[in-house]
């Protein structure tokens, strides 16, 4: 019962966060910059909030890290949505997906806002933070580009 309550409360919490994130993203008007369409991505411990669908083309990904930990952002194109792990079972094997990596941002401190310029062709992409344990801790997001 208690466990159920916990899970309900957790689900509620997650739903609330998701709702906030979605509303934030959803309400934000799509903007275009001179270098491409702007996509807002919010990172936090330990999740990535972003739109799920996007038109192909030049994209400016504006990443805000809400913290409290530092986070990086890697964009990998993958048809399966699954990424190979290193031997430790904790981080994605970046060498294995090197050819599929569209772009990456080094770890940014909490509160920072950075931009990543990418050209996305139609397909399925994963946005992730590959710091130790972060991917496994929930920091990944699938993005479909048409």
């Amino acid at each position: 019962m208690k466990r159920f309550a916990n899970s309900v409360s957790r689900l509620g919490f997650v739903a609330a966060i998701a709702a906030i994130c979605l509303s934030a993203v959803g309400c934000a008007p799509r903007q275009s910059t001179t270098r491409g369409e702007l996509v807002r991505v919010t990172e936090g411990d330990f999740r990535i909030a972003a739109t799920r669908r996007l038109a192909a083309g030049d994209i400016v990904i504006r990443v805000k890290n809400r913290g409290p930990d530092a986070h990086e952002l890697i964009v990998v194109k993958t048809e399966t949505g699954r990424l190979p792990l290193r031997g430790d079972g904790l981080t994605v094997d970046e060498d294995a997906v090197q050819h599929d990596e569209v772009g990456a941002l080094e770890p940014g401190s909490p509160g920072s806002v950075r931009e990543l310029h990418v050209r996305l062709t139609p397909g399925r992409y994963v946005l992730l933070c590959n710091m130790s344990g972060h991917y496994m801790g929930g920091m990944h997001r699938t993005l479909v580009v048409r």
């Binding site: 916990n6 930990d69 904790l90 710091m131 130790s132």
Partner: protein, 709 residues
């Protein structure tokens, strides 16, 4: 800091305040730098400890995973203790306190609370992950469902393998701990960078402030120097500084006064302009600093001697000066004024004394005496003379001579004298000069200088006051002024006395005969005697005048007297004088004639008298006694001599002229004229036998002495 422009304070001690401000700035900057260094060093040391503890969390998390697996595999391990270490270390990192010792790694470490908000958020996240890790670990070992362990750090672990979950949580814990350590390190680095920047800024600021203050100090010093310079250069006072090598500094006023460049006055250069009589005093003053007050004579650019009143300040022991400062001012005008006042006072004194003396002189003779004494007052060594013209003559006579002798001017008439013609004093520097008076040349005493001051009365020239001196050194202006005063006052007095005498003369004319009276003639005779001018003197008496009066009446007697007076006056030269001596006696004065020449004139009188004895007028004759100025010393003697001659003429039968040569104790008388041959009583010339009897004539109080019957 800045004073109002109106204030002029060259002595204000502003520099001291500026120096203190510079020192304070240096001290403040140094203290702040030292404090910052200490603070930075402390922070660096603390950062190292923090990083050590934060980094240790990763090891502990990994050790925890290993120990959990060991326990699961049935081996001996104590993951609970490691979890406790993780938790207490995470707490100590966040809120300060003691981080526990880890066996085999390090000792207990004291930590202070982390203040940076970002680092604190990360450490709190770490704390939550440590909790999640240890709970998950405990659930695993207790063989409970790991998935049901609530996760508090927002992690969403998809893996269902319990060991994998623990490993993910351990990885997250160590990663967050490392990131927190990195954040702390970056923050500390920023602090240190700020501190270094602050120190550099402090150094630059301190240097800038010091430079500004130093500039202000220089400006203040320059301003004060400028103020002092303006004081010294604008002052009309003369400032000189004397050191061991002579003059070391002269102010601009000295340069402009002497008309020489400054460099030429240094050393002994200034001394050349000092009067040689004052040099010794100046040398002594700059050697010893005394006397404090000094009067110097200095020759200026135009060659004049200027009097300087100097004040000395002895600064030989002053380490900046090493000398004597002389501050002087030109007091020449004051000295000249004082001298002029002294001269004026002397002149005034001379003038007032002269006035008083002259007021007491009632005769010309007395005036001459005073003039002679006044000449000595003017100069006892210069020859001087007063040349005066008689009112009746045009030629000049030497009336007064100073004790130093007479210059002997050969001028004859007043209008031959240039000073008289000009009507103002004339000074001749040298008798040899082209423009000198010709009468100064060829004097026996040789070349000379001269001063000639005209003497006048009511615009009419009376003569000249003449003084001589060595050639080129005439009497000074003071003496010339005194001579002018003397000439003016003497002229006024002489003129007054003469006018008075003339009035007296007019008042003392005999009313019956129109002749001057006895007193006036006496004065004239005395004047001739004093001048040493020769003259003859005769006394006449009408014969048998008493009988004529008795027989024909007083009317006839008066007529006889008037007739004799008329005949006598018309028979004489212009310069001769006849006066009624009293009763029927008359006195004659013949300037420049001797007794024989006078006798000739008197013979003419007798002849004219005899010729006029016609008509109804009773006949009468006169007897004469004659002498001259060579026969006696005084007027009394000469009158007595003439009287003796008259007596002798009477004795010899009257109507004759007898020359009297000597007084009775002398050789005797000479009868030079007798009564005409037609007279009854014919007598030969003979020696007179004087027989005197005293008789006071009660009718005429002026007559006294001898009466011949």
């Amino acid at each position: 800091m800045r004073r109002p422009a109106s204030e002029f304070r060259p002595f204000a001690p502003r520099a001291r305040r500026t120096i203190v401000a510079i020192l304070l700035t240096f001290a403040l900057v140094s203290a702040l730098s030292a404090a910052l260094s200490i603070w930075t060093t402390g922070h660096s040391r603390h950062r190292a400890t923090l990083l050590e503890v934060a980094a240790r969390q990763r090891t502990l998390a990994e050790r925890y995973v290993a120990e959990v697996e060991l326990v699961r595999n049935g081996q001996q391990a104590d993951p609970g203790r490691t979890a406790a270490l993780l938790a207490s270390s995470a707490r100590a990192l966040l809120d300060g306190g003691t981080a526990p010792a880890v066996a085999g790694d390090d000792d207990e470490t004291a930590l202070s609370a982390v203040t940076d908000p970002q680092a604190r958020a990360q450490l709190m996240q770490e704390q939550r992950l440590v909790t999640d890790l240890s709970k998950t670990g405990r659930a695993l070992l207790a063989k409970r469902s790991v998935s049901s362990v609530p996760l508090t750090a927002h992690e969403r672990i998809a893996a269902t393998d319990p060991v994998q979950r623990v490993r993910v949580l351990a990885a997250l814990t160590s990663n967050v701990a490392l990131n927190a350590a990195r954040t702390i390190a970056q923050q500390t680095d920023r602090n240190i960078t700020s501190s270094i920047r602050l120190q550099v800024a402090l150094g630059i600021g301190g240097l800038a402030v010091s430079l500004l203050l130093a500039w202000a100090l220089i400006a203040t010093t320059r301003r004060q120097t400028s103020l002092f310079r303006s004081l010294v250069t604008s002052s009309t006072d003369l400032v000189l500084v004397f050191g061991r090598g002579g003059c070391r500094y002269v102010s601009q006023s000295v340069v402009s006064m002497l008309g020489r460049p400054e460099a030429e006055l240094h050393g002994s250069g200034f001394d050349r302009f000092v009067h040689e009589d004052d040099r010794t005093a100046l040398e002594a003053a700059r050697e010893t600093g005394k006397p404090r007050e000094l009067v110097l004579r200095v020759r200026n650019a135009s060659g004049q001697w200027r009097h300087l009143e100097a004040h000395l300040t002895d600064l030989r022991t002053d380490r900046d000066v090493h000398g004597v400062v002389l501050n002087a001012r030109d007091i020449s005008e004051r000295v000249a004024l004082e001298q002029e006042l002294t001269r004026q006072a002397q002149r005034d004194s001379f003038g007032s004394q002269l006035t008083e003396a002259l007021e007491m002189a009632d005769e010309e003779e007395a005036t001459y005496d005073i003039v002679e004494r006044a000449m000595v007052e003017v100069s006892p060594v210069s020859p001087m003379e007063l040349l005066l013209s008689d009112s009746s003559r045009a030629n000049l006579e030497r009336s007064a001579v100073s004790v130093a002798g007479a210059p002997g001017c050969p001028v004859q008439s007043p209008f031959s004298c240039v000073a008289v013609r000009r009507g103002s004093p004339v000074v001749f520097e040298s008798s040899e000069a082209l423009n000198a008076c010709p009468k100064l040349r060829d004097r026996p005493s040789g070349p000379c200088s001269a001063v000639c001051v005209p003497v006048s009365f009511m615009g009419r020239s009376l003569g000249v006051l003449h003084a001589t001196g060595p050639e080129g050194e005439p009497l000074d202006s003071q003496q010339v002024a005194q001579l002018t005063t003397l000439a003016t006052q003497a002229g006024a007095r002489i003129g007054t006395v003469r006018a008075f005498e003339r009035t007296q003369l007019q008042a003392s004319t005999d009313s019956l005969t129109g002749l001057v009276n006895r007193r006036m003639l006496e004065r004239q005779l005395r004047g001739l005697l004093r001048q040493g001018r020769p003259f003859a003197l005769a006394v006449a008496d009408l014969d048998r005048f008493k009988q004529l009066n008795d027989k024909h009446g007083h009317e006839a007697g008066d007529r006889a007297l008037r007739m004799f007076a008329h005949i006598a006056r018309s028979s004489l030269r212009d310069e001769d004088t006849v006066a009624r001596w009293g009763g029927e006696e008359f006195m004659f004065a013949f300037p420049d004639l001797d007794r024989h020449q006078a006798t000739s004139v008197l013979e003419r009188v007798r002849a004219n008298l005899a010729e006029s004895m016609s008509g109804d007028h009773p006949v009468f004759t006169a007897s004469f006694g004659v002498t001259d100025s060579t026969r006696g010393e005084t007027l009394d003697e000469l009158v007595r001599l003439a009287d003796i001659g008259l007596y002798a003429a009477k004795e010899a039968g009257r109507d004759r002229i007898t020359i009297s040569e000597t007084l009775p104790d002398g050789p005797g008388l000479t009868v030079v004229s007798e009564k005409p041959p037609d007279a009854d009583d014919k007598q030969r010339p003979h020696r007179a036998r004087p027989a005197f009897h005293e008789a006071a004539n009660e009718d005429d109080p002026h007559v006294s002495g001898l009466e011949i019957r």
